[in-house]
């Protein structure tokens, strides 16, 4: 069953990738990245269940933290705030 969700979310990630490559502005790309990271976090959590390993949840959390700060960094850079 889980496979279906994994595939669906995978599709969502790929769809977001369209926006990443398409742009047209840098802002669009970063928004796409932001959404992709959120989706990926969910994907990781789902993978943890798929492999029955709770330890992967920690990985998902680290990923969420890093991705968030990463997006903030991009945002601050883009607005010329640094």
């Amino acid at each position: 069953m889980i496979e279906i969700y994994l595939i669906l979310i995978g599709i969502a990630v790929i769809l977001s990738m369209y926006r990443f490559f398409r742009g047209p502005t840098t802002a669009d790309r970063i928004v796409a990245v932001d959404i992709m990271t959120t989706l990926t976090t969910g994907l990781m959590v789902l993978f943890a269940l798929y492999y029955r390993r709770a330890i992967f949840l920690d990985v998902a959390l680290v990923y969420a933290v890093l991705a968030f700060v990463g997006v903030i960094a991009f945002a601050r850079y883009m607005e010329g705030g640094l």
């Binding site: 977001s16 932001d34 976090t41 943890a48 269940l49 949840l57 959390l61 607005e79």
Partner: protein, 137 residues
């Protein structure tokens, strides 16, 4: 199949729907502001669904309650950070000069910025002391 599994799976399904929706929004909306509008909201809700869903599902599947506590942490973290990130991004987009969609009807922020600029100019005219004050704030 236990109740937890069913509930959990339902939540995951619910979340997955919004995940897909968020990616669609990203594609279909006409400008970065509207993309953010749609994508952020559904991605966040989707995360809540998927992640908490997994936590509940695991109660039935792996028979462990430690999953739900961790997934809750992740979910709350995303709930807190996603709108912050969205806010930071939209502000950045605006400040970096990405224009609003041509169908947009109003831009109050622009007006406010203009008046703020006028205030700045007055401050400038008042001289160094004003700057000092600002710095100390």
């Amino acid at each position: 199949m236990s109740i937890a599994s069913i509930v959990g799976q339902a939540l995951v399904l619910f979340g997955t729907f919004f995940y897909v929706l968020s990616s669609l929004g990203l594609i279909r909306m006409p400008d970065v502001y509207n993309r953010m509008q749609t994508a952020t909201k559904s991605a966040t809700l989707g995360s809540l669904g998927v992640i908490i869903g997994v936590g509940i599902w695991a109660i039935g599947e792996v028979n462990s309650y430690s999953w739900i506590s961790k997934t809750l942490i992740i979910a709350v973290f995303l709930l807190l950070t996603n709108p912050i990130a969205a806010h930071a991004l939209i502000r950045a987009a605006y400040k970096s000069g990405v224009p609003l969609w041509e169908g947009s009807i109003i831009d109050k922020y622009k007006e406010a910025e203009a008046s703020l600029e006028r205030v700045e100019q007055i401050k400038e005219a008042l001289g160094e002391s004003a700057k000092e004050v600002e710095k100390n704030e």
